[in-house]
Amino acid sequence: MSDVLLSLKGLTKAYPGVVANDQVSFDIGVGEVHALLGENGAGKSTLVKMIYGLVKPDSGMMELNGRAFAPAEPRAARADGIAMVFQHFSLFDALNVAENIALGMENPPKMRDLASRIKSVSENYGLPLDPFRTVGDLSAGERQRVEIIRCLLQDPKLLIMDEPTSVLTPQEVEILFQTLRKLKAEGTSILYISHKLEEIRSLCDFATILRLGQNVGACVPRDTSARDMAEMMVGTALKTPERAGRELGPVALSIRGLSVPAPSAFGTALKDVTLTVHKGEILGIGGVAGNGQDELLSVLSGEVLCAPGEVLLHGDAIGQMNPTKRRKLGVLAAPEERLGHAAAPDMSLTENALLTGSVRQGLETRGMIHWSRAKEFAEAVIAGFDVRTPGPGNAARALSGGNLQKFVIGREVLQDPDVLVVNQPTWGVDAAAAAAIRQSLLDLAAKGAAVICISQDLDELMEISDNFAALNEGRLSAPRSTQGLSVDEIGLMMGGAHGMEVAHV
């Protein structure tokens, strides 16, 4: 760990109106697992993009193995041994593993040779993968393996990983960590970006913390508590959501034996889902992405209709009601996909406030819109949920992901729902904002609303929910009280390592 692989010196990058990186300097040693921490908008992505040659710094320089390093494009960075696994996979569902990998190569070898190389590399690193399987059939964890193996085939000296564990079950995370440790033992350096501080504590040797584009400190994660790291990221003391002792009321919403066919070729069918949520209860629904979360939310929001009696609100059948009617009755939802589903990208925040607020907030009379009231509602959401934006006239797409998420959640919470369904409420949101969102869900439940929180963040679910159930291939496990539920049990409820072979390292 004594040798320096990559050295960043005073990297600065400004975009119109914002300095994304301001004089950032740090070193990554050979064979070091280096964590990069920071809130949303702290400049992590920009920094990583500079290293990977996607963005050119305005000033400052990088040195790789002591030589000046200024990649003009990702191809140059790859040639120098830098590889990156992105948060969002760039794979074609209809092609098989080997074809997907060949697509990303400059001079792909013959398919048979490539397949055997994929096989040997994947087994070598404890990530078994059949090169001839169609990517559309793979689980999220297996897709990530494809991306990792694509990188490993280049024999990288530095592997950059952006939020790699957000789509994995606990067991899959463990397999990934074994692979990363093996890579590290072979002298590969890893730059690891994650919001999950406990993971960083168990995996990383060193951490650099960014806040508002500046390097505000470094620490050795093993010797620092997660809370301290979070506070370094935010710059202030952190508030943990408070959970008042809650009494569960009568049943608010229930689903009985619900089955819905998959909406598309790569969607998930819901199979015989049954659940009940009481007034004042937060029901956490875990599971790896793509196991029916989207579909479950659509059935509850009314975007997908089902047999009337399969969804009951206070005992009344609402399965055939459209979203507008359900909102009138107090069933609100906040989908996972912020841009394009929960909000319209090119529309202003006022218009986006009207999108779901029209019925309950009285923003229309017989179809005529009251724009001033819509604007007031948008301003209330912006103020109540600390949405950072110049004003309600701004387009939704101009907001950062975290800010838009606060807007989307706030818009529903402020409408005083009887039942609120949220999917990934704090995905990509920084620690402080995530805590605020969770607190708002807890407050809502304390006021007597029933909340269904679908999330892939298990810590979040353990923190706020009373009962926990897991979605696995469209089936929902029987809910269990979160009191005394262990990580292993949760993992099993989520389907274990999801049919993936366990690593043999």
Binding site: V55, E303, E337, A342, D346, T356, A395
Partner: protein, 360 residues
């Protein structure tokens, strides 16, 4: 190296400026074209844009502007609603023909009775005819998922055949000495869409176009239906989440655009054209697509764009007869207008960056 960078917010300035810049660029490129054809570019441009409005014979051309512009605006307003939602009615020409046929058919059925109720009935029949013709692609789309672009376009050619059959058969003037074409509605007072003010070119179609502009403005900006139309165009999934039924929106948008196109056809056949004849339709339904985009799908923009388009038509005619410009050159000129508009439109959402390559 030139590259495009997406703006975080759409530029309001460019959104208003693009039509003007596009017209200027068309004048420039069109001028070069005319110069290459050996004509004085300044005289040619002046003939097209100045002569109809302020030239020696403008007393004749100005009413013509209204006569040509009104159907364009009326049809384009209807089309713009669907276009905003990503519902592409390309067959307004067909709906225009059917509206003319049903409207004129009702009028001719009463011939020679005189009554004040006949013209309103014809208006109703014209709108219904266009609406019904547009319902064919709408229902096929909502029921079977067919592509409304193809179906509505192909129905134009069906409508043209119907028009030919009608003017040679059912609606043929019994006292027309065997010539194709219906009785002249201009000579049938109860059915005549006469000028409201003599010599102004203002007939009921122009009044309907103005009403449609106001109606569309209110619908798009003040009403939930308009909001849902814009929402569907921007983010279809968000629209579903908001509670919009895609099928009902398709029926609504195609229905409105069909009814307005049918109205335009009725006002044309009972007014300026007078008779149902084989060559009754002159492409208003297609040109209205250009007008809708030239007006940026905004009601007031469409009003201005309709006027501009009518101007280039009439100015183009004058340039052909006075300067001997080939009609193909005029069509190229009109095509340039749409081309430049779409090209400059990119600047509303993107800014141009010169220099080093970079991905933000």
């Amino acid at each position: 190296m030139i590259r495009l960078e997406k703006r975080p917010d759409p530029s309001r300035g460019w959104s208003l400026a693009t039509p003007v810049v596009a017209v200027l660029a068309t004048m420039l490129a069109g001028g070069l074209l005319f110069a290459a054809l050996g004509k004085d570019p300044i005289v040619a441009i002046r003939t097209i844009f100045w002569e109809p409005l302020f030239g020696e014979f403008s007393f004749y051309y100005r009413p013509q502007l209204v006569v040509k512009g009104a159907p364009l605006v009326l049809i384009a307003i209807g089309l713009s609603l669907g276009f905003k939602a990503g519902i592409w009615n390309i067959g307004a020409e067909g709906q225009y023909i059917i509206g003319a046929l049903t409207g004129a058919g009702v009028g001719l059925a009463f011939y020679p009775t005189e009554s004040v109720f006949i013209f309103p009935l014809m208006v109703l029949a014209g709108a219904l005819g266009g609406w019904a013709w547009a319902m064919i692609p709408a229902i096929l789309k909502t029921r079977f998922g067919t592509n409304e672009i193809l179906v509505s376009l192909m129905l134009v050619y069906v409508a043209e055949q119907l028009l030919a059959s009608m003017s040679l058969g059912l609606l043929k003037n019994p006292e027309g000495f065997g010539f194709p074409g219906s009785r002249n509605l201009q000579q049938y007072d109860s059915a005549h869409n006469a000028e409201l003010i003599a010599g102004s070119g203002l007939h009921w179609g122009a009044a309907a176009a103005l009403i449609a502009v106001i109606f569309a403005y209110v619908l798009v900006n003040k009403h939930m239906t308009g909001f849902h139309i814009r929402l569907t165009g921007d983010a279809p999934r968000a629209a579903r989440f908001a509670g919009v039924s895609p099928a009902r929106l398709v029926l609504f948008c195609l229905g409105i655009s069909g009814a307005l196109a049918g109205l335009a056809g009725l006002f044309e056949v009972s007014g300026p054209a007078g008779v149902v004849s084989i060559d009754f339709n002159v492409g208003y339904g297609f040109t209205a697509i250009i007008v809708a985009f030239l007006g940026r799908l905004h009601p007031v923009g469409i009003l201005l764009a309709g006027a501009l388009m009518a101007l280039t038509y009439i100015g183009g005619d004058i340039a052909q007869s006075n300067l001997g410009l080939p009609s193909a050159a005029i069509q190229v000129f009109q095509g340039m207008l749409l081309f430049f508009l779409l090209a400059f439109d990119v600047l509303t959402n993107f800014r141009i960056r010169l220099g080093a390559s970079e991905v933000a």
